[in-house]
């Protein structure tokens, strides 16, 4: 599904403050699998996630999504690829304050020009499935942490992407909510979605549901566990 060949990512390239975030990664991510990147802070987990999901271009190396080389695509094509293939759940959820749950969920659909009623029905159904039906018209700043995360998941799925990207999704959740999140991920996998996430939470990468754990250290692959 996604493959990386000798991917390097440098920040502040050519300046005295240059940082190597990824130092030559070769990786294959299987379709319909749950892959978790683990590693200490600064190991390159989030950068790797950004490169995989077309949010950032590699400084060198190639990234293939469904066989298409996306590493050198211009921004507009990269956006289309991101829109078509990926849904995102951010560590801090990144919901937009002042908007309701439903409005937040509909945001990724806004630039697509689809029929608003169809999108609203799809969003409502997704919110119902995640137990947020009664909260659809509540402002997001009034949500609990778990509700905010489920809203972020609903938003990530509104365009029906085949891949869900989640960056430290349980970092701000207690154990019960972390387990609830894993239940949701299990449901997504059952729908046939690929899930890629970062986590330094053992509750996540030790879960039976996880297909593959990729360990990172200093921007390089450290070890792999089945």
């Amino acid at each position: 599904m996604i493959s990386l060949h000798a991917v390097r990512k440098l920040y502040n390239e050519g300046r005295p403050s240059e940082v190597t975030a990824l130092g030559g990664i070769d990786l294959e991510i299987a379709r319909d699998a749950l892959t978790v990147f683990r590693g200490p802070s600064g190991s390159g987990k989030t950068t790797l996630l950004s490169v995989i999901s077309c949010m950032a271009r590699p400084s060198s190396g190639r990234v293939f999504v469904d066989g298409r080389n996306v590493s050198g695509l211009p921004e507009s094509f990269l956006t289309q690829e991101r829109r078509r293939t990926f849904g995102f759940v951010f560590q801090r959820f990144n919901l937009i304050r002042g908007l309701t749950v439903l409005e937040n969920v509909l945001l990724p659909a806004a630039p697509l020009g689809r029929a608003p009623r169809d999108d609203a029905e799809r969003a409502t159904a997704r919110l119902e499935a995640l137990g947020l039906g009664p909260k659809a018209h509540v402002l997001v700043e009034q949500l609990s942490g778990g509700e905010a995360q489920r809203t972020a998941i609903a938003r990530a799925l509104i365009n029906d992407p085949p891949v869900l990207i989640a960056d430290e999704p349980t970092a701000n959740l207690d154990t019960e909510l972390a387990m609830r999140f894993l239940d949701i991920v299990a449901g997504l996998r059952a729908e046939g979605r690929t899930v890629v996430m970062t986590s330094h939470d053992p509750r996540i990468w030790q879960a039976a549901l996880v297909d593959r754990v990729v360990a990172l250290r200093d921007g390089r692959l450290d070890e792999e566990q089945p």
């Binding site: 989030t46 996630l49 950004s50 949010m55 950032a56 921004e75 507009s76 956006t79 289309q80 991101r82 829109r83 995102f88 951010f90 560590q91 990144n94 937009i96 304050r97 002042g98 908007l99 409005e103 945001l107 990724p108 659909a109 806004a110 630039p111 697509l112 020009g113 689809r114 029929a115 608003p116 938003r155 990530a156 365009n159 960056d167």
Partner: protein, 380 residues
């Protein structure tokens, strides 16, 4: 509905919601913007209305005026000249005119006294038609009170009111007194068979230059003034006054453009983060710019309508109280005259582009810079 329209609708909906969330900032911006437009629109509407007033008056003016000059100054002209002018081929009619100025020591105003060319306008002996400003400045009860003019100590010349001149011509008739020929000659102590100047009508207006040339040869000491020259003098006068206002407003526009650019470039941390989120969840640079253009469009259109509406009220309902002294104050009795509402579509369109485009131009680069931000930033 096409996907493009639906996309614009969705972006506009989001923009409205975003603006509502930052309502204090946006209302402040709108008010400052509207104030700038108000100043420019007031100057423009006012000058247009003044020029319109001048056109109303000059439409009835004679095509050519002949004045006698003595030592380079305007002097009375002999009635014999009338016959000489009538002899020029192409001349339609020649009429001697009687008019003059009177300084009223009571209120320090300068009145224009005139015998109307239209016989229907000539008031009966002992009576006069007054411009609208005159009874007001003299504190006269309109229907009943006679006007007494004192030419020298101990003298009082009485004129009873025969009516009031139309509001539409107030620009040049506010201080006008129309009276009969006998009263006029008596008031100024004029001998018969002299006139202030001579009005000439032309059969074919395209021949005016030829007739002016012939009259010039016939009367080498006379000054020949065409209606177009008078019109140009009025236009220049108003353009000059409007220019002062527009120069002042230009400084406001520049200040506003700097303010708008600063506002747009200094996007708050929350706005920058929001743009990053939108890009990360699938919006591209075009979507963000379109959303920001909607925002700019709504603000600038709102400010344009608000500012122009206020300017209309200011000029036509409140007599341009803020700028009148700059734009029309060459006579002590003018400040109260009322303008006829008049809007020039071309000027309004020009105003729209002169105010909305600078704002858009000032904001587009900072917006583009923010919109091209790397979505990767929100991951951190």
């Amino acid at each position: 509905m096409t996907p493009w329209v639906r996309r614009q609708q969705a972006l506009a909906d989001y923009t409205l919601a975003a603006m509502a969330r930052r309502r204090v900032k946006n209302i402040g911006l709108l008010l400052i913007y509207a104030l700038v437009i108000f100043v420019i629109a007031s100057a423009t509407l006012f000058s247009t209305a003044l020029r319109h007033e001048a056109e109303i008056v000059l439409a009835e003016a004679p095509e050519l005026i002949v004045q006698n000059l003595v030592m380079g100054r305007h002097d009375m002209i002999s009635a014999e000249i009338i016959e000489e002018l009538e002899a020029i081929r192409g001349v339609g009619g020649v009429t001697g005119r009687l008019w003059g100025y009177f300084y009223d020591r009571v209120n320090g105003a300068n009145y224009t006294l005139m015998v109307p060319l239209d016989p229907k306008m000539v008031p009966p002996a002992g009576q006069a038609l007054f411009g609208e400003a005159l009874p007001r400045t003299r504190g006269l009860g309109w229907d009943t009170a006679p006007l007494f003019l004192s030419r020298y100590p101990g003298d009082l010349f009485r004129l009873d009111p025969a009516g009031r001149l139309s509001h539409e011509s107030a620009l040049v008739s506010a201080d006008l007194i129309l009276l009969g020929e006998e009263d006029f000659r008596a008031f100024f102590d004029l001998p018969p068979a002299v006139y202030t100047d001579i009005a000439v009508s032309i059969r074919n207006s395209r021949e005016i230059d030829t007739i002016v040339a012939k009259a010039g040869k016939l009367l080498p000491n006379a000054r020949l003034v065409t209606r177009d020259e008078i019109s140009r003098t009025y236009q220049k006068l108003f353009y000059w006054r409007e220019g002062i206002m527009v120069a002042m407003a230009g400084a406001s526009v520049l200040a506003f453009a700097i303010f708008a650019a600063e506002k747009a470039s200094g996007l708050s941390a929350e706005e920058t983060r929001e743009i990053g989120i939108l890009k990360a969840i699938g919006w591209d640079t075009r979507d963000v710019i379109a959303m920001k253009l909607w925002e700019g469009g709504l603000i600038s259109l709102g400010a344009f309508l608000f500012g122009t509406g206020l300017a209309y009220l200011h000029v036509f309902a409140f007599d341009a109280a803020l700028f009148a002294s700059v734009l029309k104050g060459w006579s002590v009795i003018y400040p109260d005259f009322r303008l006829t509402p008049m809007i020039d579509g071309v000027q309004l369109t020009a105003l729209f582009f002169l105010t909305v485009l600078p704002y858009t131009a000032a904001t587009i680069v900072p917006i583009w810079r923010a919109a091209t931000a790397d979505p990767d930033q929100v991951m951190r």
